[in-house]
Amino acid sequence: MRYRGKVLKNWFIVILITLCAGCAFFWDDEKDDPVSCFEYMWSEMKYYYPGFIDSDVDWDALRDKYLPQIRKNPTSATLKRVIKEIIDTLNDAHILAVFDRDEQYPPFQEVLFSISVVDEYFNLEYVGVNYAFGRRGDVGYLYIVSFGGEEDAMIVSSWAKEITGVLKKLDDCSVLIVDIRENPGGSALNVQHIAGNFILKSYPGYARHIYKTGRAYSQYCSADEDLKKGSYTFPRPVIVLMNKGSVSSADFFGAIMSHCTDAVLVGENNAFSSIGDTEPTELPNGWIIQFGKLASELFDGEFKEGDIILMDYEVTNTSEEQKAGIDTQLEFALGLAESE
């Protein structure tokens, strides 16, 4: 009886000690001082960011420039300033830094577009959350809110397939306005599927995707992707509306329409932002830098990260006009449509 009690007692002591003394108790975070945070951010971007391949940006030189500044004045304010300057240098619309719950860089931009203003021009029919369409006399209008797809799905979204039916409904219009203003992008497959309805032939290898495979700048791989003509082709002239809020795969759509069709581009000249598939990178001090890990070049390098998608007609909305319910870009497009 005494033996049994002793065994039981020792057994529970062993369990209790093991429970309390997991080796992870001693695991520690990386150092969170500004110098360590900068070094961490620099090395992570060197490892994963494909924007330094065939780029004018010398990432090593940026380290040589900024590291002494942070060492000289190792404060969070210095680190924040340096990160902002680096983001400005890289000029990549996908890069975002968050310093706390209320502060991010680049900061939120004023949006000079409102679909409720557009609704005054067209009696829009909303279908789901991804698109809306309508007509005003002979002019058709299709608004694509985003090219977002189902999470993690590498298939064309059902809403993108529905667009073909919408275009068939609108193909008795004299002109179609496709509005991708403030479109944050999404799935390139959705872009390709929708764009397939406007092109007259397929473009094998239209996109070259590049991604890093290791720390060295030379460690990367690439793969080509095709743009296939759809089973249906929209038969009327098309006007594409873009603004600076059209980013990522929305830029793909603008580039495809510019390169492969006779579509007229109206709006704001737009920097092609193609380093997508963004992921957050947490720094040791808890800040987050988000950047893309997959770079894309379209049409044999005609469109690369940072290249400008030139509008055929550069037109800008103003805040005052938006408040007054006037959409200057849309009115310009309507004027063009009526002159067609």
Binding site: L8, F12, D29, C221, G286, I288
Partner: protein, 266 residues
Amino acid sequence: MKYLLSLFPLFACILLLNEVLRADEKAPFEVSASVGIMYHTADNDYISPLVYRGAGPALCVEAVWQNEFMLLRNTLLLSTLSLNSNKSEVVGTKLQNDFVCDYCCGVYLHTLSGSWGRLSMGAMVDMHTDFYRLTSSKDQFSEKRYEFGHIGSGPALHYDINLGRHFLFAGFRLPVAGYVVRREWYLFNDMLEKNVDNPVEAVVNCGEYVYIDELIKLPFESGYSYQLNGNVSVKLTYLYTYLAYKKPRLVKSEYQILTCGIEVKF
């Protein structure tokens, strides 16, 4: 030499086969279901430079078949939990481990026994998955994912002692060879995301054989059960697992699970 480790389960099964054939058909069969808590620590250099810790619910189901010669144990552990770091409050980051699944099938021979208890040695097949997502309170952020699956095999030990209505047990296993699947497409050459969306293709394209020098998993289990009547016992189990994998970035995880449940003998 390392490849010979892959053959370990095969040799073990051949050795054990003779004992399995001699199994007593009236051998007791035990099933237990336990619920409890898992405390998980993740030091995942791919996900974050910070160490994430947190607790969540755990469910453990075990089926045991034994006779005087051998012991066959199947253990399944499931959990899902949310982890925080020391800096989580800065921008509201959390590390979700959506699906922790740990399964082990072990075949043991009763090799040593005496008044001090019974020690069984054998071989096991062990499986483990972790589906991590680094999320933030900021809407603009996408998630960072790390999906990991491992199936391995190696030697296993099981010890138990019967003290009247009290029953103590402990177990240890060591996967020495296995196969790891990770879905991070850009970590390997010639691999694009679209090629690994299909789970079967992911297993084939994103996997690699690993050995104990690359992946270390150390599961240790101990517990106590008290027999309420002839067939039913209450059971308290503590399971500690350390998992480390160094490709391409060092990932260390520790799982501590404490469960309490009912065990029924048939």
